[in-house]
């Protein structure tokens, strides 16, 4: 499974990279970016889901997650 950030929806709320810094970083404008190619293992999947559940803009998508 893979996590992606929808750049159109992301407004730089900063919730993902403060909550799951191993998975998400930020760019020069403060918008969230996925580290690496976003492939998730069972450990990082939980963190990615947590970040998703905290994004006010609903900008985090986990491809292949139900």
């Amino acid at each position: 499974m893979k996590v992606v950030i929808d750049g159109e929806l992301c407004q730089g709320q900063g919730r993902c990279f403060s909550m799951a810094p191993d998975i998400f970083g930020f760019d020069d404008l403060g918008n969230g970016v996925v580290r690496g190619d976003g492939t998730l293992n069972p450990e990082t999947l939980d963190m990615a889901r947590l970040a998703q559940a905290n994004c006010p803009e609903h900008a985090i998508l986990i491809e292949g997650d139900e």
């Binding site: 407004q11 730089g12 990279f17 403060s18 020069d28 403060g30 559940a53 006010p56």
Partner: protein
């Protein structure tokens, strides 16, 4: 403050400066969610207040039908001539698309985490210095003498303004955010010396450029053009107004909570790893900032007959208490895992200082509880809350416990 008649019914005659709303707005909002859910008032020349998460987020994201040209709800109905141009007086918060995006891109890099995170040691030092001043006092004012003084010190430092002006910043913020009841001429007169001061600071930075936010704003370019002086001026005003009362309110409300919830205080003291999650719950539960919008044209919206230049009071704190979106919305759950709070707003006007605010809030709480692992309200009746659109305790005497 001028006297307003008491509110008869918040559904049809709401007023966010009414003493009942100022003291404890949450039951009022819950009642409105059940009954309306968009409240109306003829006060302020006509205004609407959506009390639900859905209503607030719909309007926050809708820049087609609502303008940000005025974001502090004032007395009287703003006419076309009273409104600033779409650039606004304090870009980008008072700007609409398409200019908004340009103005926002200019200051986003100055508040991105890569710039803000390195400020942590400085913020910690500011907090520790303030706590040091308390000495051996057994009772301290956690808001007035602590929370209030942290944000202006940090912002003044970022702007590169003189250290001795910290108190002056606080006066400026009070004047702008709390003068809704003052006549316009009075506000204009009060603003004159402030304007003169900012112009003097900007001139000094033009003559002696240095590595700070003021010099950055004076030199940054959009399409090869430097910003107009009034744009820089407006943005500095915005940074002061938006960055001081707001964070003060969040820090103060969090310490108020901990002063009468010893179980939460003990958990934070014993489980410091909880802080990042706890900070988000403090922000949800005690979100300090309510914004305003203006209706662009007559329309039926959310089932309401809105008229051109009606005010919208955009209550992010109310959205954060909506049980449709938040389980046990009226309970403070310090380790709440799922928390899509909108304390920093939503959409293109998301608070630009959110990374700084979050950092200040975390460090201010950490330092306070490190020095005082046990404290309680010295006198619950002595706690006073700020009126207007920025909520937070002003006076917060707490007793330090052994």
């Amino acid at each position: 403050m001028s006297e307003r008649p008491p509110v008869t019914d918040f559904a049809t005659d709401f007023d966010h400066t009414d003493p009942a709303w100022v003291a404890d707005p949450y039951p009022i909002w819950q009642d409105l969610r059940e009954r309306c859910p968009v409240a109306h008032t003829d006060r302020y020349g006509g205004a609407w207040f959506p009390a639900t998460h859905a209503g607030v987020t719909t309007i926050a994201k809708d820049t087609e039908n609502f303008t940000s040209r005025a974001v502090i709800m004032e007395e009287g109905r703003p006419g076309e001539e009273a409104l600033p141009a779409p650039i606004g007086v304090a870009p980008p918060i008072t700007s609409d698309p398409p200019f908004h995006q340009l103005a926002r891109k200019v200051i986003l890099p100055a508040f991105a985490p890569g710039v803000i995170n390195p400020l942590e040691p400085k913020i910690r030092e500011v907090c520790r210095d303030l706590l040091e001043r308390f000495g051996d006092d057994e009772e301290v004012n956690a808001s007035w003498d602590y929370a209030r003084l942290i944000p202006p010190t940090v912002i003044r430092e970022m702007l590169g303004f003189p250290e001795e002006d910290t108190e002056r910043f606080i006066e400026i913020v009070h004047m702008i955010t709390e003068s809704v009841d003052n006549p316009e001429e009075q506000r204009i007169a009060e603003f004159e010396p402030i304007e003169a001061y900012f112009v003097q600071q900007m001139e000094d930075h033009m003559a002696n450029p240095r590595d700070d936010l003021t010099s950055y704003l004076l030199n940054v370019e959009i399409d090869g053009q430097k910003l107009a002086p009034e744009h820089v001026f407006g943005t500095i005003v915005l940074i002061l107004v938006a960055g001081i009362d707001t964070t003060w309110g969040a820090v103060g409300a969090s310490l108020w909570h901990l002063a009468h919830h010893p179980e939460d205080l003990a958990r934070l003291v014993n489980e410091p790893d909880l802080m990042p999650v706890a900070v988000e719950e403090f922000l949800r539960f005690y979100a300090p900032v309510t914004m305003a919008r203006l209706v662009k044209a007559d329309m039926e919206y959310l089932g309401c007959p809105m008229k051109e230049y009606d005010w919208i009071l955009l209550g992010f704190p109310a959205a954060n208490r909506d049980p449709v979106v938040f389980k046990d919305a009226d309970q403070f759950i310090i380790d709440r895992a799922e928390n899509r709070h909108v304390a920093f707003g939503l959409g293109i006007h998301r608070c630009i200082g959110s990374n700084l605010a979050r950092l200040e809030l975390r460090v201010a709480i950490e330092e306070f509880i490190a020095r005082y692992p046990k404290f309680e309200l010295a006198d619950p009746k002595a706690v006073t809350w700020a009126p207007g659109q920025i909520r937070g305790p002003r006076q917060l005497p707490v007793r330090i416990l052994p």
